[in-house]
Amino acid sequence: MKMLTNIWTLILLGFLCSAFPSMEPMRTGALKLHRSQPTERISGSAGDVLDDDPVGRLKVFVYELPSKYNKKILQKDQRCLTHMFAAEIFMHRFLLSSAVRTLNPEEADWFYTPVYTTCDLTPNGLPLPFKSPRMMRSAIQLISSNWPYWNRSEGADHFFLVPHDFGACFHYQEEKAIERGILPLLQRATLVQTFGQRNHVCLKDGSITIPPYAPPQKMQAHLIHEKTPRSIFVYFRGLFYDVGNDPEGGYYARGARAAVWENFKDNPLFDISTEHPTTYYEDMQRAIFCLCPLGWAPWSPRLVEAVIFGCIPIIIADDIVLPFADAIPWEDIGVFVDEKDVPNLDTILTSIPVEVILRKQRLLANPSMKQAMLFPQPAQSGDAFHQVLNGLARKLPHGRSNVYLKPGQKILNWTAGPVGDLKPW
């Protein structure tokens, strides 16, 4: 009799334990994107994986490079601290004082090379990528000759921050970037970049996509009361035609932004224009949907702003890979519209059921979502720095893939790439 009751209690307990995970509102395991391409997801969602603490899960060693690679470049132009590529500088500062940093390279899991490749700015503030390949190459030559860790794995346990338009392809024009491809020396390293597009040369497997830098204090200063009613349906401020570089249209944004303008310029639901209002952040907080179309590159700081201000992002960029895509369920939060469906954008948006919209707004209101998009100074828990470290920690242990090379094995070709890149920096 006793045994029977014991067995029943065990079964009951087992039943309860298995029932609990299914009560979670978020899905686990493989998820289907709306484009029917299954993506492996870590179990949980915003609020789960985003809250992971990387301290204790990995150790990072920061190479001491001469200041010509970092400090001197920053001193030449202080604008590098405020533009949207500033993540590389802030990541360096964060790692120097972080708890994951180790001064003993023997126990380090990951190695970080602080080289600011996106800090050579034109008078207008746009970064020139022409010297970046040489700078990166010179930095890698330095670390490979002064420390044995690069040659041990040919960079497979090293990570670099390349926040430029097309990542490590180091060019602002897409055709050129595709032609150049990722710098050959970085073939095995992990790249932390803002650019992300599926099946694109400049995004390699295992890269970590991060959001572009947006100034946190500036955005906090413009927050308005949450009960201000959201009365704008769709909001967008920015260029539709890049008159300087693509006057007829068709190249810029693959014609998507121009299509938005031509189809919806007289639609009262669409508050779109090229103006630069001073109330840009406040207006976003009064809008339900914010357009985040591609420009010359598919990513933009608009996504970060939309998430911070609770405006549902409408992402118009085919095959884009969004930041921390393995931790944040972007299809639950934003609306993805194919570029070919742009003329029907109003139909698409008005046919979304209201409950879905309210749910998206609730997910956006999650503070850990907003925190994950920011690079605050000083770093706070759950912010983008920690998400990068979480991403790196998820790739451990290194023993799985062929990270460490056998002695004498060489994979990288140090003379590959355009002739101009081989010149010393």
Partner: protein, 506 residues
């Protein structure tokens, strides 16, 4: 290969525009091959052709022949005819796709997204669809309702608005303003309209347009003509309304909405925070009419009052009620109006009823939780003048200051009334319509700014008619009460004069 060379030459140009002085060293190598030279020559020929034709002919040809998208709509309309000719030919990817594919590693699928020129897709009728606009508005409404539920007031209580009114020229003007404010309030509402001289049909038809729950009662006596008496009478009418609240046991928050006041929508949200009795800051829109003429002593006295006088609760630094800001009428007494038709401005009393809100349960007869500091309404039946609701309380210190301790001004007090002899079209409808139509460039009155319109009825000279320019401050309209009637009166006569002049000239 061929296309990429041409493309590169175009892109080189773009490079230079994009980055200013930047020169891309790696692009130079591609120009040297003979095929590239041939295409350059062809490009030059096309440029010459375009110089003659007047538009960019080469890009057009390439765009049409090698368009990527198979959609029917292209950007520029004249292309459509040419496109029909070209559509018979093969459709190639415009960008150098073979070159792109060679660079990809073998295991990646061909990219769905191609680089290069894309058409700008425009649907056949790119204008808003009214059905969708309505759907979007419903979505917006639902989202705002959700916002209110989450961040707004939880468990909103009913509002009971008490408005004393009487039939007069500006009644429509004032009452419509109050009515529209009440119609926008998102909470349940009962509107008690107390009318002097008995409940009339005009008022009833006016408030029936609101669609709100209204209680329309009348008080037999008519409105007196001295302003001091008026204030007293209005207090009496409000007490009459409070008796209705007591007798019908209406539940909610009682607020006093005088029909000539201006209310902001935040007021209604703020009031929901009251527990028993609350006090708000009321902005008083009176000031000396000519600031420049005021003497030095006046200016000094005005320095004691704030620039816009505000009546309401005064708090110390820990936000506890310590006193009251009241309106000091003494410096303006000489200029104030006593009689209904007086020239001066109407002054408020020390503390207006409009700045107070009450929990209606305080008025109920047998309410068990009634606090002991609340006097009974019956005591005030014979009292002549109840200046403010504070007299209903034994202890004024229990009043809760609202609107971040009186720092926010959410309602404005102003009395503007027409003179008794003013002639306004009945029902505010001009029937029959005015006969004179004047071309817009010439108005019947000149733009000379005149001084004050004098009280005398002389209409003759045209110079008396003009736009009366006031100092542009927010306290604007108190003295216009007679000017408006005067202007209309004189405008009509002037129009006839002008028409006479015109006929003479013609």
């Amino acid at each position: 290969m061929k296309l990429s060379a041409l493309h590169q030459s175009y892109l080189n140009r773009r490079n230079n525009i994009f980055r200013g002085q930047a020169v891309d060293p790696s692009a130079d190598g591609a120009m040297k091959s003979p095929a590239a030279v041939f295409w350059l020559a062809l490009h030059g020929l096309c440029c010459l052709v375009s110089l003659i034709l007047g538009f960019r002919f080469s890009r057009l040809v390439f765009f049409l022949l090698f368009s990527t998208s198979a959609t029917t709509n292209l950007y520029t309309v004249p292309l459509q005819q040419v496109a029909e000719e070209a559509s018979g030919g093969s459709v190639l990817h415009f960008s150098s796709t073979p070159a792109v594919n060679q660079e990809l590693p073998v295991n990646k699928t061909a990219p769905r997204v191609v680089v290069g020129r894309h058409g700008i897709r425009i649907r056949p009728w790119p204008h808003p669809n009214p059905v969708e606009v309505m759907k979007a508005h419903r979505i917006i409404e639902r989202v705002q309702r959700e916002q209110r539920a989450q961040f707004g007031v939880k468990n909103p209580r009913n509002l009971i608005a008490v408005t004393p009114t009487y039939v007069r020229t500006f009644q429509t003007l004032h009452l419509t303003g109050v009515m529209h404010s009440l119609m926008l309030v998102p909470y349940d509402l009962v509107w008690i309209v107390v009318e002097a001289g008995g409940a009339s049909n005009e008022t009833a038809s006016l408030i029936a347009k609101s669609g709100l729950t209204t209680i329309h009662t009348g008080v037999k006596e008519r409105m007196p003509s001295l302003w001091a008496d008026r204030h007293r009478f209005e207090a009496k009418m409000r007490l009459h309304a409070l008796k209705i609240v007591r007798d019908r046991k209406l539940d909610g928050i009682v607020m006093f909405m005088d029909d000539s006041n201006m209310h902001s929508m935040e007021l209604f949200d703020e009031i929901q925070n009251v527990k028993w009795v609350g006090a708000l800051s009321v902005g008083i829109l009176v000031h000396s009419t000519n600031v420049g003429e005021s003497s030095l002593s006046d200016v000094q006295k005005e320095a004691d009052n704030p620039v816009i006088p505000v009546q309401g609760p005064a708090c110390n630094s820990s936000n506890i009620l310590v006193g009251w800001h009241t309106f000091n009428p003494l410096p303006l007494k000489e200029k104030s109006a006593n009689h209904i038709d007086d020239w001066g401005m109407v002054l408020p009393r020390k503390l207006e009823w409009a700045g107070f809100v009450l929990n209606s349960r305080l008025l109920w007869k047998d309410f068990s939780d009634k606090p002991e500091w609340m006097k009974d309404l019956i005591l005030f039946d014979e009292v002549d003048d109840v200046e403010s609701p504070l007299l209903l309380l034994k202890d004024a210190s229990i009043v809760e200051p609202l609107g971040s301790c009186g720092r926010q001004v959410m309602l404005w007090w102003l009395r503007v009334e027409a003179r008794t002899d003013s002639k306004f079209p009945p029902g505010w409808v001009i029937n029959p319509p005015l006969e004179i139509t004047v071309p817009s460039k010439r108005t019947p009155w000149p733009d000379i700014p005149t001084e004050h319109l004098t009280v005398d009825n002389s209409i003759g000279a045209q110079e008396q008619i003009g736009v009366v320019k006031r100092p542009a401050k927010a306290k604007g309209s108190r003295s216009k009460r007679s000017s408006r009637s005067r202007r209309k009166h004189e405008a009509r006569t002037v129009e006839t004069q002008v028409s006479e002049k015109q006929t003479k000239q013609n």
